[in-house]
Amino acid sequence: MIPQLLSIVPKTLHWCRIGLGLRRLKRANPEERAHAQQALATLLADSRGLAMKMGQVMAGSDDNNAFQPLVSSIEPLPLSAVQGCLENQLIQSLRSIDESTAAASLGQVHHAVLQNGADVAVKIRYPGIVEAVRAELKLTGWLPDAGPVKRWRFNSADYKNTLHRQLLRETDYRIEMQTQQRFKERLKVPGLHIPAIYSDLCTDAVLVQSWESGCRYSEACSWPKKSRLEIGRTLLMTLWQSLFVHGEVHGDPHPGNYLFRIDQQDNAQTVLLDFGCTVLIDRQRRLALLKLLDACHAGREIDALRCFVAMGFDAEKLAYLNTKMPELCNILFRPFLVQRPFHTMEWRLSTSLQASLGEQRWWFRAAGPADLMLLLRAFHGVGQQLEQLDIALPWWPLLRHVVGDALLEEARALELPAPANSRVTGMTYAGARRLSVRITENGVSTVSLDLPAEAATDLASIIPKPVMAEIQTALDIDLSGLTRRLQQEGISPQELFSLDNGHKQCRVWLE
């Protein structure tokens, strides 16, 4: 027990420091931001495994932010520290193996030459990393729900399970080997190259694949327009084909997982690496998305809410956004709706969602299943990459080409599941729809929130603690009593309470 505790305590402290770093970054003003980013990046780089993985997600596709070192230039371990993972069969197959120049969160890559002269990349899992990741995942399991996660009722268990499953899957290189082979066999996209696997040399801790040359993303962004368009087409078609045709998407689109080169025919080639993290989307879910995209593109009326539900969204939560569905689809699917090449810089997804949904955008996110988070990451990654390539491509015709008429017809014919309850149709619900909280201090608005009415049962997590304390003192409110009453009597429109002490006004009501 004590040794276990001793191993967990430093990790816990490290995660606390990361938490503080995140908080500092969130609150930093523009001048302090770069410094805060740098400090957090250093903390994340200090520990391989989950923390570094988190940093890689933060790096996104931007080659030039403070988290980039986590993607491209982490100090690898010496070969002597990892060669214990190499089995005899592999050692005997190697003519030579170099020190690693590319380290990542769970392992590092060495250039090697086989006895037959073939150049290969040997990816070696860090010794002890599986146990380390398991320990860190245990810690995330203890993390309490807080902030938006609690306020908007994210299914945190689903998120934690997805994270656990995904990370543990990533530590087994045999699974990655099979995934990579599957992608290589299935994906037929112009300009896409997936390295060949040497399956007889792979183990759960070692992955051997062909050595690929190529430049990084930032360099490819300065290539001529033709090459950049070819790369963009490859990225988009790879995503569409993986998602809609095969139902399995590469879920780790950070720049370190791509190489770019020009082939002998002067065409740009994209080398896709690292198949540790993929997202599986079953047929009904992807057909529902295709059905929705197709209807939105054609301007046909469709029950968007039921499509989202078929994709795995929570019908109850989504029902609050029913009236906003057409606008939401217009924002989310804009690149598919315009009848011209689309530059992703025009999208401004976050700004548009904020303008359209306000705080309720969290409700939409909370309604989505956890595995869609990884899919969204893949979409977001491609969007960022296209923006940096500074190209415009026609999304819908490319998608149509990829999915073909038969799949599109199948999607059109898909029977959507019946609404789970009356609220989904928005017909019979007579209770309050919205909880509104307004707090002003000295004439300045400090809190202005419109939340789904159900959030009224959890006011303690919404109203800042000092304000709540003042309210309870001034108004003698029994918060848990109020919660119980709402649960028993139903959440109907009503004034919950208000406070005005001259310099501070607080009003909370259901409507």
Binding site: K226, L229, Q339, P341, L393, P394, L398, R400, H401, V402
Partner: protein
């Protein structure tokens, strides 16, 4: 409720200023009182207010821009009016725009503008492309666009280019070839112009059959 753009101009003699604006520049007197005279021309309302400190001929307070298709003729017509004088000869501010300036009465400054379209300038603007275009395909579309009346040409240029690029992407290509370009031309051009377009294509050695049987894209 309707809003109009209204400009307040202080002049020594509002009635005299209003008379000039109505007689020479086509304004209409819509309201007259001791406090102001209001004239408008459908695009702008001018509230002419009396100001004893303003002097006849004070220039530059109210700058009106007049578009013309014939700079010399318009200048001559304005100069025959009383109290109008030329203060700046026509000058090209850029290849597509020439301006001259005249001083009218009551501080009214007239900027006479002649703008030249692509035909008058003898230029063929590039297509607003996003993908790669074969040289002959782009040249063909740019030439064909000259058949379209100049006032519709800019929107036609955008629509044909976008359509050709959508057709190209349907085949997962990134280079617009002659085939996609001509099909886009046929798709976007109104039906009544098809015979003229087909004839022009034949003159360029392009067989139009097969492109013009799909109707037009709205």
């Amino acid at each position: 409720m309707n809003f109009v753009i209204s400009v307040i101009h202080a002049v020594a003699d509002p009635i005299s200023a209003a008379t000039f604006l109505c007689n020479a520049l086509g304004f209409k007197n819509t309201c007259q009182s001791t406090e102001a005279v209001i004239v408008e021309n459908g695009a702008i309302a001018l509230r002419l207010v009396p100001d004893n400190t303003a002097r006849q001929g004070d220039g530059g307070c109210l700058n009106l821009e007049l578009q013309t298709r014939n700079m010399a003729q318009a200048t001559a017509e304005l100069l025959v009016l009383p109290d109008v004088s030329l203060i700046a000869q026509p000058v090209a501010v850029n290849p597509a725009r020439v301006e001259s300036r005249l001083q009218g009465p009551q501080g009214i400054l007239i900027t006479l503008v002649q703008e030249f379209n692509e035909d008058e300038l003898g230029i063929i603007p590039p297509l607003p492309t996003s993908l790669i275009w074969n040289e002959d395909a782009e040249d063909c579309i740019r030439q064909m666009l000259r058949l379209i009346p100049v006032s519709f040409r800019e929107s036609a240029r955008i629509r044909i280019t976008e359509r050709a690029e959508m057709l190209t992407a349907e085949e997962a290509e990134i280079t617009v070839t002659m085939n996609f370009a001509v099909q886009a031309l046929a798709d976007v051009t109104p039906l009544f112009q098809h015979p003229m377009l087909m004839s022009a294509l034949r003159q360029r050695g392009i067989d139009p059959s097969g492109y013009f049987d799909r109707g037009t894209v709205s």
